[in-house]
């Protein structure tokens, strides 16, 4: 079976982002980029599924973006993915535009099972997987914490408010991974060396419409410094008053 994993290349959550001169994108200088953390769960699940299936199953990793995304593709190859495809577009795309390129590639590869991260931690749209499924007319289970494949049949558990929902569906399908789905493996050093020999296929991303446009980016207003109103129990009445009248939380 051909399995695909779609990965995005995002600023490290630990770095402080600055807004670029165009006010529409972040300034990449000094920012470390990493594989989107939720995509690591997606890669792991694809690899586990391949290992369970055995035979001649293949895992493809696909990313839409610029040359910079190769770093993330390499990481997935080092974890054990078989082939990597970079769908190049130097212009920014919205979720719909990205999904269009991915759907086109997944179709031409003939992948029946596709894993995504549940969301990309850069724009946090949490929608690319579902749009891609819609475009391909695939089943889709979003925010998955447990996944089983038996023949054609999929049993997936997803997180919902206060509990879990068990869903049965079948291939072809798109699964979006949530933290807890698995424990992503480290790229072993042998894996890293082996990944050097694997090629990353580059091709232009298929044309697709964007339905939204970034007009302007702004940083959130700086947090106001905290206030200490006292250090012992005599401060409690004042604290209650402020929580009620000023913060309006009680």
């Amino acid at each position: 079976m051909k399995i695909a994993v779609c990965v995005s290349h995002v600023p490290d959550t630990a770095t402080r982002v600055k807004i670029g001169a165009d006010r529409k994108s972040i300034d990449p200088n000094g920012v470390t980029f990493i594989i989107n953390p939720y995509d690591e769960y997606a890669v792991e699940e694809a690899l586990k599924t391949k290992e369970k299936l055995g035979g001649d199953s293949l895992v493809y990793v696909i990313s839409v973006g610029t040359d910079a995304n190769k770093e993330t593709l390499r990481k997935a190859l080092a974890m054990g993915a078989d082939e990597a495809i970079l769908l190049k577009d130097d212009n920014p795309r919205d979720s719909f535009g990205i999904a269009g390129a991915l759907a086109d590639e997944i179709k031409s590869l003939g992948c029946e099972l596709v894993f995504f991260g549940k969301q990309s931690v850069d724009y946090d749209d949490s929608i690319v997987g579902q749009i891609t499924a819609e475009m391909l007319n695939y089943n889709c289970v979003h925010i998955v914490v447990d996944f089983k494949l038996d023949g054609n049949k999929i049993t997936a558990e997803r997180e919902i408010e206060g509990g879990r929902e068990v869903i049965e569906t079948e291939l072809p399908a798109i699964i979006t991974a949530q933290k807890g789905l698995n424990e992503p493996r480290y790229a072993s050093l042998k894996g890293i060396m082996a990944a050097k020999k694997k090629v990353i296929t580059e091709k232009p991303a298929a044309a697709s419409t964007n339905f939204s446009e970034v007009i302007e980016m702004n940083l959130p207003a700086p947090k106001k410094p905290g206030r200490i109103i006292g250090t012992d129990s005599s401060a409690v009445p004042e604290l209650v008053k402020l929580l009620r009248e000023e913060a309006k939380v009680i």
Partner: protein
């Protein structure tokens, strides 16, 4: 898991290849996830975290520069150095384990062993299924291993080994010991296996340093070794010194990890600790300390990188390794002590890593050639006069 981003004041990362960066980052994340959360507890209990061995093996950090045909990752020496650096950011004891297994056990078997010895031992050592140790130092011969008195005698079908080694990292947990002994007056390497009659390896207790590492005596009382347990290509003490040279190279890199851990701790603390209404980081005396650290770390990083590039080109001289080991250990110890000073009373607690690193580095500056011995090695090289024999 707290992410560690290291210190790279001169963008030295830009001098590394893509795979060297990926290897460094992978080991860095491994240390953050697997070593940092457990190390203080193990150190407090003087316990080596043996449960990490299979994980380190799976990652591929045991004997990582050796060929793929022995199940090794076949990395270059810069990548090896970066691995040591990241491991020692966790703890010098963890780095010591990996150093001994790679540079002092797998390297001599690979370099001086027969093909059968290599086939038998290297893949198992790479997979962490077997643990090794290296026995050179003796109770009466430390800086002067040339005097060693452990002795092998040829008998029918093998050798009889008698003597004692001391201060041997991994000794008690080792399945195989690379032991240096005299055979007809000439120093040769032997493979002594756990369970051989007359061989014991009691652990040395009461250490204030490298507490999360096993240190042992090796005792040989008429131990019979079959012929095939001699490392056939060993011809003298210089072979043992070749192994030390590999390990010293790793130490020069490793201690930069300790430096970065201490600096990171000191900087974070200095920015948040308020005295006289201001963070202590705002005082000139504290800044002087922090700037000294950044300067010495940066110098050591550049020194190591060039050391590694020379080694990869086959141009490295052992005297250069001595200079780097000597300098970096000394600076690491300085940085650990200064960090401790910045942390005030908190610096002595194991809530922070600095005192552990400071204590560990007292071993690191002593083993693999003391600071003084490396001074004399470089001193002889530049003056032409040997000050020690």
């Amino acid at each position: 898991m707290n992410k560690f981003s290291g210190l790279d004041y001169f963008d030295i990362t830009s001098l590394l290849s893509e795979d060297e960066i990926m290897i460094r980052n992978t080991v860095r994340d491994f240390v953050s996830a697997e070593v940092i959360p457990i190390i203080e507890e193990h150190n407090r209990l003087s316990k080596f975290p043996i449960q990490l061995v299979p994980k380190m093996a799976e990652l591929g950090i045991l004997g990582p520069t050796l060929p793929a045909k022995y199940d090794c990752a076949e990395l270059n020496n810069v990548a090896y150095g970066l691995i040591m650096q990241e491991l020692e950011r966790g703890d010098s004891g963890i780095r010591s384990f990996a150093s001994v297994q790679s540079a002092l056990v797998m390297y001599p078997i690979f370099t001086f062993g027969s093909e059968e010895q290599k086939q038998r031992w290297l893949p198992q050592l790479a997979k962490g299924e077997k643990i090794g140790c290296f026995g050179l130092t003796e109770p009466d011969y430390g800086s002067n291993p040339g005097g060693l008195i452990t002795k092998a005698e040829k008998v029918d079908g093998g050798y009889i080994l008698n003597g004692a080694k001391m201060w041997i990292t991994n000794g008690t947990i080792a399945d195989i010991a690379v032991v240096w002994a005299r055979l007809d007056g000439i120093v040769k390497g032997f493979l002594v296996e756990k369970g051989m009659k007359g061989f014991s390896a009691p652990e040395m207790r009461g250490k204030h340093s490298l507490k999360a590492s096993v240190t042992s005596e090796l005792l040989f009382d008429n131990v019979f070794l079959p012929d095939e347990n001699l490392l056939p290509k060993t011809v003298g003490l210089k072979n043992a010194l070749m192994c030390l040279n590999q390990a010293r190279y790793g130490i020069a890199w490793g201690v930069v990890g300790s430096m970065m851990a201490c600096y990171d701790s000191a900087l974070t603390y200095a920015k948040s600790r308020i005295q006289f209404s201001k963070p202590i980081a705002s005082y000139q005396l504290t800044q002087d300390k922090l700037v000294y650290m950044v300067t010495e770390i940066t110098k050591a990083q550049l020194l190591n990188l060039q050391l590694g590039r020379l080694k990869d080109k086959g141009l490295l001289k052992f005297t250069q390794v001595s200079l780097a080991k000597r300098n970096n250990c000394e600076k690491a110890l300085d940085i650990a002590r200064i960090s401790r000073q910045i942390l005030g009373a908190n610096g002595i607690l194991d809530e922070y890593p600095v005192m552990r690193h400071a204590a560990n580095l007292e071993s690191v500056i002593t083993y693999e050639g003391t600071h003084e011995m490396h001074t004399l090695i470089v001193g002889e090289d530049i003056t032409g006069y040997s000050a020690f024999d």
